[in-house]
Symmetry: D4
Subunit: 145 residues, 8 copies
């Protein structure tokens, strides 16, 4: 038994490493996927296709190139963990949640308690809300019981 | 020929009225749907099912009751317009965008120019980005040409 | 705006009438569907196709003839209300819940509080749990707000 | 040729062991999956996400955490065996049957003869009804003929 | 409540008329659809697109033109009745059954008892087997109970 | 019985008028849909959303706005007629054919005989190839037989 | 590159061996699947679940047990070859064709020329008609070119 | 992490070799698929099934035999690259784009700048437009960052 887990959302803290290390300590058969985590590289993902005059089209191209990776990996995964932090808008994380919900793909949200109210629609479709990465590790550990 | 249009997202300004009035002036055959627009009623949507001790479960119940309406109406609609304002996080709006994208349902985003960068993944799947409600009316008018 | 609501499950009490009357008093635009509610007729639904020696095949034929109606009506409906009572096993009601969940069709459960534990998997996918028919009417009323 | 088989339902008797051992004796290439079989652990699956005041929300969280495993494994499986015993309500087993039926995933029911009548809708969509685990082994053996 | 019923299969006897008349006597709200019933016209359906040298391509073109109608009408229908007679091979009728089964669309078979063995796979996915048109009328009547 | 027919492809000749008039003469119950047929308006469909520096982005925006209409109308239609002329590349017409094929939506191609070789993959999935609009009318007339 | 090929239909001649041997001689990377080919065993597939009084239910049970294998293997396969012989009705083969067509799974028919007319609807959805097993081997060989 | 990439479209230049070699130099874990690239063999793909009198049917048979390969490989792939050259009509390439779009499968277009206008609908659904094979290699390299 093996689970494939996609780690979506915030890329400015080490929550992914915490989950991956926690899972490795437990020797669980989990394969993790992520978007590109280098922020500058992600913003420039489309630059190789030609320079743009406006921010809108530069962003547009980069977002689509990134989607080549994120869509493919979410589709391959059994479970998605979606992280929301306090500083950023992370509409892409909420977008991923809606994408998973529509396809019936289960996901776990990971966010601090003070985001409960604005994330209520996202949490309503989640299979679990975790407040810290250790709880995500606990859930993944339980799945192999 | 008739189009069904769902108006998703921010509920604190009159953008829906502007679109609906603009469309009525043009005599276009559009049927509009919306979520419940009364903010307090929306937050209390699940209260009739019993009081909750914690904010999380109150929000959870209300979000699910609202989903009975929003899911049904998005599924019935041909096109969704998704509005993001500057003040609020509106993760539910981004969630609706992801939901539409996964099902291949076309949507238009409506937001000011300074949200272009954080909304790039949401805009990347949109069929159009409009900066004000008049542009949405223009598009809808064009569809009946 | 109109909602189509299928009323699934227990057929030995008047919960359907209570919901339908409650909705009529509120003048809501809801069209209700139900399975055949005459218990003996339902058990005999397949008898016209020839008599059977064993209970298994009589039940089998009748269950399939009933499925012609129930499947069609659930598929046509926007929302399903699924009622569990205390006296009966009503595995067919739980079956309908699983059927709705797989297709992403939202449903509301209706059952007394002492069934919460054995129904936890069914409630986990529900958009709401109502303990009495009045609460279902409240939710439906809210949807038209 | 290999079949993946999910064993759903009752967790208080050794029917899973009987099927697995029977299949191993025949050297059939079957990979089996199950939900978590430790009843107390299953009821407590969500406890790591925070304590709850009420039974409803404790059950709710645990049912959803369990769904992360059960949904994923049913989706991966070719065939599901669904066991109903006499003592328990096992609405979750009937839910799994409805879930499989909606997705066109074939399943086998396993239950004693005196449950034939209340399970008629569940059996009507099954590819086979087995009265004891040996019959399930017989069917699986036949599939490799 | 209304059902849409597609009448597939054999076109050399009056079974369709019998069902339609039986349903009209009962005043049931059923809308019936059928393929083109004029055998020669059906074989010549593609002739207007140009003459063919070989029987294979004449048949090929006509079968595809007919599929424009049959596919559309099966897709629109809630229930399909599929008739097999003794004289003809009617592989198209069995094809329609497989098509319905794959899409989860319920169907009823209509055929004499001596075809039970060769039709076992087709009957296995049917919701009912009727031996004469009156039984089909009985089932349709029951659906409106 | 009614058919909805989408007329896709070339917008520089009067083939749509010929089909619509032919069908009207026969009093067939067909509802026709088309993309916006005014070439300049179509190329400028996105201009109301802001001027672009480059041809690529102007085209991009207009193509997406047009997709709001074309996708919706193809999805609503039972049958699509796809016209290829000799002068233009009409990759959008071939795109519509692939879109229909993937969704199992039947389509008819309409093109002169000298395009048979380059259109072989498109014709291979079509239900019919017509060389002139009269043949399309003939097929539609046949569907109502 | 590897193809999975399901060999459906007639089980009284050695056409499967001819195809498999032909493919082995060419060293093509093809994995073949088939239904159970022992006719008596296939008819008795459900006997282990209890004896039946009537032929209908014996056939019914066996057909469903066989479906556990055939459905799973068709779903796993990339291409299905469907064989029709002159002596038998083989409605199950036509059923498999309809099943494949509905799911967009490509299939090849294999039958003598004098079955062209009654099989026209089945051939109309096929990607190829082969008159003998060597032609099927030719096609499979071509796919690896 | 591995990506499967299908290379669709023009078969008269060495763009596939350029991409494959570029990817190999970077040691990326990409598995490439293509249609049959031998033009004459592709046109003759159906000849083994019997000679045809007319070009239409010869083309028809060959296109369908080729579809056995192309459909299967596109379905297996994560990403499709679709190449349009200046000399040919390549409606099959645009057909593949529409096919991918309908199924939500991401694709990249590869074509010179002077094809931007006629390809606008195809580019509108693409995740990226590359003007030369090196840019495709750049994107694939980025996906493994």
């Amino acid at each position: 038994m093996k689970f494939k887990v996609y780690l979506s959302g915030e890329i400015h803290s080490d929550w992914r490493e915490q989950i991956i290390e926690g899972v490795q300590k437990e020797n669980l058969n989990v394969e993790f996927f992520s978007p590109v985590l280098d922020h500058d590289a992600s913003d420039a993902a489309g630059d190789g296709l030609g320079q743009e005059e406006t921010g809108f089209w530069r962003d547009h191209k980069s977002a689509k190139v990134n989607a080549l990776r994120t869509r493919t990996l979410i589709d391959k995964s059994d479970i998605t963990v979606i992280r929301f932090g306090e500083k950023y808008k992370q509409w892409n994380a909420a977008f991923d949640a809606g994408y998973c919900a529509a396809l019936g793909k289960p996901y776990i949200t990971l966010h601090p308690a003070d985001l409960v109210h604005p994330l209520k629609e996202v949490d309503a479709e989640a299979k679990a809300w975790a407040a810290d990465p250790k709880q995500v590790v606990e859930i993944l550990k339980y799945l192999f019981k």
